[in-house]
Amino acid sequence: MTDSILTVSDIHKSFGALKASDGISLDLKPGEIHALIGPNGAGKSTLIKQIAGGLKPDSGTVWFNGKDVTGVSTAERARLGLGRTFQISALAMDYTVLENVVLGAVGQSGSAFSFFKPAMKDAALLKRARAALERVGLRKREETITSELSHGQRRQLEVAVALTLSPKAFLMDEPMAGMGGEGSKALTGFLQELKKEAPILLVEHDMDAVFALADRISVLVYGKIIATGNVDEVRSNPDVRVAYLGEEDAA
């Protein structure tokens, strides 16, 4: 496990009687896309929050880049290099595209407490921001107000903002949701490239995408990981078929 970027080990989280995380362990290795799937209510979002930092587990630890980050804030984890995208776009909608990525660069550079120099004229911030936009292909839209972007473009922008952090790992929550076939395809190719730079923990509903993309898959049901393995292993796992795929692959 020493080469894992991200290691979740035996975390528990309960809300009253509901065990949302019931002894979950998983890890993310360099260069891989590790997909997390599971039916609604399986506890995916609770798990993500514990990994990203919004929620503290009752017990268990989260290691990131060789450091125990269990009690560390969201912002601190981001500065350590955890890049995150959201299911519902979390962007500053009134900002331009460029301002959003510069915001990412501000966070990355730790310059949020510099008070006098205009952010949008700071060469270092702009360079980092534009490089990220270039990567996702939004360089030409940098003056557009974010709320005017299409759904797919917002997704791209989310990735670009995460890229400004030069992350050591990505945590992506349903990046394919609501994308058309073309967009999905393009994004799939992009993620395949991206994983070489930093591994991706991918939470995804879109099974086709998951099977096309993932190097490994973990299946979460009722707060427990019932299976982890490559696509074929998971496909053939009887528990998974019953608990989850059974519904999807009824035909």
Partner: protein, 328 residues
């Protein structure tokens, strides 16, 4: 359609021209009104940093306004009576020098804002509004019932404090001092809004999750903004006290907090010049509506209601036909 920047320039120009005209037409009261507008604008610019840029709806900014006022009142009253403020462990004397008073007002209100902000920012939404209101009320009742500095009677300072090289009792000169301060603060706040800090503050307002996940310590950014905001409003309080040569607990009252918010919404939330336009408009409404009827508050209420319901973006928003400010 006018650019917001042009509108801002026109507002500033009017703020200079009207009192200048009044000076030569020998209508000192008009200068007093303009000074009042400038001081209220300054208070509004302070609140707008927290409220407009940061989305922190503070209903208790009267606390800093009052703190600034009392900084002036206490320093000047000790100077007036030739009594030191304290002698042990070291001697602190009163003063009637404006720059010193401003400095003390800024520092004291910043400290107060640090204290209140550190506690209040743990809450969000309505709770934040209400807890800031409660802190304001706390100071209001404290100043009323604490006898040392006049209680409800307040403190009268018979002569306006001094500024090197100026005759502060001359209305136009005092106006100039206030106006220059307003311009300086507008310049600084403008730089602040455009700085990485401003980007982070407003970014956190638009989407807190996003700011957190790019590694910005949102709580600390907000706290710093809240402190700067309180300090600016405190400076305005010190000037207001000097304008009236009087301070009293009403400076701490929740109606003052409400009025400062009204300047912002009348002018346009999160616009650099929103509070300036709003305060000027408010003073004009007060002046002219007050002449119409004993019940002029009804009209004021109706206008305010109209602006809130139908004129999002305030007057600057209406004039520039743009609901959201981008270059402000």
């Amino acid at each position: 359609m006018m650019r917001e920047r042009h509108i801002n320039m026109i507002i500033l120009a009017l703020l200079v021209l009207v009192p200048t005209y009044a000076h030569f037409a020998e209508e000192p009261f008009t200068i007093t009104l303009a000074t009042r507008a400038v001081i209220f604008a300054l208070a509004g610019v302070g609140l707008n940093l927290a409220l407009g840029q940061g989305g922190l709806v503070s209903f208790g900014h009267a606390a800093y306004f009052g703190m600034g006022g009392y900084a002036m009142g206490i320093l000047a009253s000790h100077a007036q009576n030739y009594e030191p403020i304290m002698e042990v462990p070291f001697l602190i004397e009163g003063t009637n020098s404006m720059p010193v008073i401003w400095l003390v007002a800024i520092v004291m209100s910043a400290l107060l804002a640090l204290l209140i902000g550190a506690l209040s920012l743990r809450t969000t939404g309505v709770y934040f509004i209400m807890v800031t209101l409660a802190f304001g009320q706390m100071f209001y009742y404290f100043t009323i019932s604490w006898p040392a500095y006049g209680g409800e009677d307040g403190l009268s300072i018979y002569v306006r404090n001094q500024f090197p090289g100026m005759n502060t009792l001359d209305p136009i000169q005092f106006f100039s001092i206030c106006f220059v301060l307003l311009c300086a603060v507008l310049f600084l706040v403008n730089r602040l809004n455009k700085s990485p800090f401003g980007l982070a503050l407003n970014g956190a307002h638009q989407n807190e999750e996003r700011a957190l996940t790019v590694g910005i310590n949102v709580y600390r950014v907000r706290l710093v903004a809240f402190v700067i905001s309180g300090a600016i409003t405190g400076l305005a309080g010190a000037l207001f006290a000097d304008l009236n040569r009087f301070v009293s607990p009403t400076m701490f009252s929740w109606q003052i907090s409400g009025e400062i918010m009204i300047f912002i919404i009348l002018g346009g939330v999160a616009r650099l010049f929103g509070p300036v336009a709003g305060a000027a408009l408010y003073i004009m409404l007060e002046h002219f509506l007050g002449g119409l009827s004993e019940y002029w508050f009804i009209y004021l209420g109706a206008i305010l209601l109209f602006v809130v319901l139908f004129a999002k973006g305030g007057i600057i928003g209406k004039l520039s036909r743009k609901e959201i400010s981008h270059d402000g």
